[in-house]
């Protein structure tokens, strides 16, 4: 559990984080969504005590990070920028980390297996590809078998296979009851990974909600070989609907209501799909005012 209260960070007159209140809970992947420069990395650095808060506070399991008796056993963090020395091998990097927190050395081999770096673990890290470097950072985060994991833009620079791997990893960590906090500016990524969302823009928390509440389904897509008849039945109910290609889009009602209607009218239905607005649409509605720089088209 991570709790921030009034968390504020000002860098030389520029407010990067503005009285942020949020809590990250166990058992679900919490997405930390916002455009670049919104304050995501700042918040994560403040959680780890790497930067000092200008005002407010943030605790991890009820304590300031620096007061944790063995921080790596409670929090594992993958930071955005590379955070290892290129002249040292992955194995030695993990070995020194383990030693500082009293983590048994055999754990090093275990996490190297988990991230699939075993074969290159003895090589100096400067020769690693972007994806291998990312895996090393994840191995370091998993080292202490912590209950809380933070990933700052984890899919950056990963190939599709790596993205899929990290997505599954985060979901399985959350399913084990851990707290998983992952930042991204990629809404498509959040849409498939996160169950809960904290949305940030210009240093302010704009929303702290479940994914379902953030983007409730707003219409149902209906496909039917009896589409014209079904359209008339829907119109007779005074439901709003439009025809979109070979489907009918019905607004403001549940799939169940449409299914019942079709059954009563004796019409066949081949598809009934609740359609969510895209995360992008929901996000743009929310942050219309808070995006630092609006893109200029053309």
């Amino acid at each position: 559990m991570i709790s921030a209260a009034g968390l504020t960070k000002v860098y030389g007159g520029k407010t990067a984080l503005d009285h942020a209140d949020f809590a990250v809970r166990p058992g679900v992947v919490t997405g930390f969504l916002g455009p670049n420069g919104a304050g995501k990395s700042t918040a994560m650095r403040l959680i780890l005590g790497l930067d000092r808060a200008t005002a407010g506070s943030v605790t991890v399991n009820g304590r300031a990070y620096r007061d944790l008796p063995a921080p790596l056993r409670e929090v594992g963090a993958l930071l955005e920028a590379k955070a290892w020395h290129g002249g040292r091998s992955a194995y030695n990097h993990l070995r020194f980390l383990a030693r500082t927190n009293g983590i048994p050395r055999k754990r090093v081999g275990e996490v190297l297996d988990v991230v699939g770096l075993h074969d290159v673990a003895a090589k100096r890290a400067r020769g690693y590809s972007l994806g291998m470097g990312q895996r090393l950072g994840i191995a370091a985060a998993l080292l202490g078998d912590p209950g809380i994991l933070m990933f700052d833009e984890p899919v950056n620079g990963l190939d599709p296979e790596g993205i899929l791997w990290i997505r599954r990893l985060m979901q399985s960590l959350a399913a084990e009851g851990r707290t998983v906090f992952v930042s991204s500016h990629l809404m498509s990524e959040m849409a498939v990974t996160a169950g809960h969302l904290i949305v940030i823009g210009r240093g302010r928390i704009l929303a702290d909600t479940s994914m379902e509440d953030f983007i409730p389904p707003d219409h149902v897509r209906v496909r039917s070989p009896d589409l014209p008849a079904l359209g008339r039945a829907v119109a007779a109910e005074n439901w709003q609907a439009v025809t979109g290609g070979d489907a009918l889009l019905v607004y403001g009602v549940t799939p169940a209501a449409i299914g019942d209607l079709a059954f009563r009218a004796g019409l066949r239905v081949h598809e009934l799909t609740p359609v969510h607005p895209s995360l992008e649409e929901a996000f743009m509605r929310l942050t219309a005012d808070s995006v630092e720089f609006h893109g200029v088209d053309g």
Partner: protein
Amino acid sequence: MTPRRATFAGAVAGEWIKIWTVRSTLWSMFSTVVVTVGLSSLLALAYTLSYDRLGFRARLAFDPVAYGLAGLNFGVITLGVLGVLVVSTEFSSGLIRTSLSAVPRRSRLLAAKAVVLAMIALVVGLISSFLAFFASQAIFSMRRLGAGIGDPEVLRAVTGGGLYLTLIALISLGAGAIVRHTAGAITSVLGVLFVAPIFGVFLPEDWGRTVQKFLPPAAGSAILTTRETPITLPPWQGFGVFAGYTAVVLVIAFALFRRRDV
């Protein structure tokens, strides 16, 4: 059994692993020994060969121990670089963020680095100092100029050589933590140790002499002398002054390291 919590001992053990798992450490150690012993021997040889041409005064002022340890002044460069790198590469690589995630108490991390560096610098410094002493005295002995390790003040001077190099490493670590950039920190350390003395040269004679004695390199290397000279402080007094400089730099380094964002 290792404790399941983060302790100072754990931080020291972690730093110990860290320092031995990059190549620069072994290179610095190796080059320190080569440079100090090599240059001490070379200078001893040059002196011995030109002994016949020296005047009475020069022969009288000759301190075979200080002269024989002159090469240690160049070990300042290699151990100084090691001291700087121990901190500065953490910042240049980004490792500092990982290190502080594992050891979030800032003073504990920097103190662990200082302890490990001091241990290594002391061992390398003592090896360099003793080897430089025995090599140079063997050369001086060709003209019966050499001192023995059992002679008065000699053991203090040779051991002091190791201590001096240890302080050099620590003051450099402090500079690395203050400046946080490798090149900048090395420049400041070498600037203070090699360029500052030039300042004393240009002061009027009596001032110049006094100031010179208190400048870092002369104060620190006073510990290498076994004879009173007008240009250096008494050995332990000079060493004390240099230890004071080191302490000041480290205090500033700790204060900044505790406070700054990384």
